[in-house]
Symmetry: C2
Subunit: 207 residues, 2 copies
DNA sequence: GTCTATACACTGATAGAC
DNA sequence: GTCTATCAGTGTATAGAC
């Protein structure tokens, strides 16, 4: 696909990414991945031994592209309100570039929660107890200063994530039920959403 | 499973529901469904001809259990703020009783968006242009009366849905990343969420 | 209606030539 | 490293006896 696919290994991984994210682990076919990579089925097994190993590589890449960014963006030296703006802007932009990944991650983890355990251990960026603590401290200070309403740090973070991610993963249902199955209309709705979400959250938070 | 499974057809449908919702269309096996129903593989085809037909029945049941309720609950004779309380309370309760259905619907529709078209035509409860119009009128009036902030009706509805549904569909990720993989802690978080969501939305809305 | 047996296509994976 | 050929297993679906 892209010009930088020098070696076969990358060609396979890119093809696998496409097929797995579209069809899921159980729906994907090694045959289709091989075709899309322009190589033979046997080569898949030469490079990745089994379907499961290939899937795990794809899943890990998708996961570490989307999830650790939450910590990155929240852990900056900013006020709460600045963090919200920064996070919503950048995360919605990130999701626009990778619209299939959140649904892929959510679905595969629901089918097979244990794959998360290995990844969390490998990916140090995900271990983020401090993220919550820092956020809690910040909220506590702003509450004392009468700037914002009291709220549990995890709840706030999950609310923000929900407002950013849900419209992307539930796109087909929402398009069908609330936008008379008009993809253009839903696209327009999504493009206007950044400011709306920021406003909604800040209104909920500010005193 | 339940005592009312008089006929084989229902036994199959209940078993199919379990397996399809857990494994998805492509991950489910007719063999497993037959075993779970306590009957033979051949009988599945006697009653439902193909795997796809059986799946469609299961999907339609799940869909019409969860989606048309949105209209039902919003279309009552209540003020906006009353509707929010009513909706959040009842929808979160509904999701607690059927925690796998939202993820199931979202995933299958992402893989195969066309199945929604047939259902919307069959299920008159989903055709709800008026729902949005009524909500728009209500918001307009409350805005004029200086009760609430201006907001697009679809955006408000999607925000409410996001805050209710996302924590349920993203449970494994959130448990792993934000709750140190402690299911009990996440369960507790969810059980306290009703009031939190209602408060969050109303704060965002009220002037 | 329910069962057993079986057809038959497909899937993931390997062997072995080049 | 890459290919062709092929295997063993599994999956949906049907035929036919009871």
């Amino acid at each position: 696909m892209t010009e930088k696919e020098v070696n076969t290994e990358d060609k396979i991984l890119n093809a696998a990414k496409e097929v797995f994210q579209k069809k899921g682990m159980t729906g994907a076919r090694m045959h289709e991945i091989a075709d899309k990579a322009g190589i033979n089925k046997a080569l898949l097994h030469y490079y990745y031994r089994t379907k499961e190993r290939l899937f795990e590589k794809v899943f890990e890449n998708a996961f570490s592209l989307i999830i650790p960014r939450v910590k990155e963006m929240i852990a900056s030296e900013k006020s709460i309100l600045e963090k919200i703006d920064f996070f919503v802007d950048n995360y919605i932009e990130l999701l626009k570039q990778h619209p299939y990944i959140p649904g892929f991650i959510i679905n595969e983890l629901n089918r097979n929660p244990h794959i998360l355990i290995d990844i969390i251990e490998k990916n140090t960026l995900v271990k983020q107890e401090h993220l919550i603590e820092v956020l809690e401290k910040q909220i506590e200070n702003d509450v004392k200063a009468n700037k914002i309403r009291a709220i549990d740090a995890r709840s706030l973070l999950i609310n923000i994530l929900a407002l950013c991610v849900f419209p992307v993963v539930a796109r087909p249902v929402l398009t069908g039920v609330l936008f008379e199955n008009d993809p253009k209309a839903y696209e327009k709705f999504l493009s206007q959403r950044k400011d709306l979400v920021k406003e909604f959250i800040k209104n909920a938070l500010l005193l």
